[in-house]
Symmetry: C2
Subunit: 133 residues, 2 copies
DNA sequence: TTGTGGAATGTTATATTATAACGTAAAGAG
DNA sequence: CTCTTTACGTTATAATATAACATTCCACAA
């Protein structure tokens, strides 16, 4: 028998919090297997889907990986900035940007339900280090 | 012997233009195999990467699929709106949104290199049809 | 003209990511 | 308690993507 949902989700959040940066579903699975050797991918994906729906984690579509929510899951779409050097991810909430975005796509009558906004580049720290070299 | 790069890329663009909506790498591969039965995934992925670099197609990160560029590859990041009902994709260019986005992530010193902006929802047509039902 | 070095392409194999399908167990409603 | 619904377990497989290395092409020098 496996763990029941909430306990599993809690354990997953702990792992993700301890992990510095995004983690893939299978890397997460591997860590979870230290406490439950038989855990299957399906179980992990289901829990990830649930956590995502709750707004407690975010999926990075451009990396097939997951990060904990940094702004206490208020369900609004976030802007995720991803450092391609050190892998760190920052989350920003900016209603103005979302509004502007909906205006732009709305010009064709499009009705937005879900936003994927991911910015790749260099975080402040890594950008400074690049400049030095 | 397979086809040389440019010819392959041209054929891929033709297929993508004829296809109504995003196409996955493997669906594209299957179509290409009607003219070259031995084509391998690697070949397709390399050509897709090249076309993406040239700005002639866009990859939909949230769908693992590709669409032709609708604005004659000026390399600027686009806003892609994806209808979850009929699968159509529209491309918008909105420098204002990009600027605002860079300002937001720049507050932490982040230096943006690449934007992934994908909006899921219903296109004007499908949204109207929903309302009727 | 030939050879040689580098880049693009071909080829094989495999890694990584994700879901389908179906049986079983748990927990709340009545 | 028992039914029904939802979550969970399990097995298998589908879908997406890349690593690694061999081969070919082609520009350019000797």
């Amino acid at each position: 028998m496996g763990q029941r949902g909430e306990q599993l989700q809690a354990e997953m959040l702990t792992i993700m919090d301890q992990n510095s940066g995004p983690i893939s579903a299978y890397d997460l699975l591997e860590k979870l297997r230290s406490s439950n050797a038989k855990m299957a991918p399906t179980t992990v994906y289901r829990a990830l889907a649930s956590l995502t729906e709750q707004g407690r984690i975010h999926r990075l579509e451009s990396m097939n990986a997951y990060v904990p929510c940094q702004h206490d899951h208020h369900h609004q779409s976030s802007i995720l900035s991803i450092c391609d050097d050190c892998g760190s991810v920052e989350e920003n909430v900016a209603p103005d940007v979302l509004n502007q975005l909906e205006t732009v796509v709305g010009e064709n009558g499009f009705s937005a339900k879900r936003h994927v906004i991911e910015v790749h580049g260099l975080c402040g720290t890594c950008d400074s280090e690049e400049a030095v070299q």
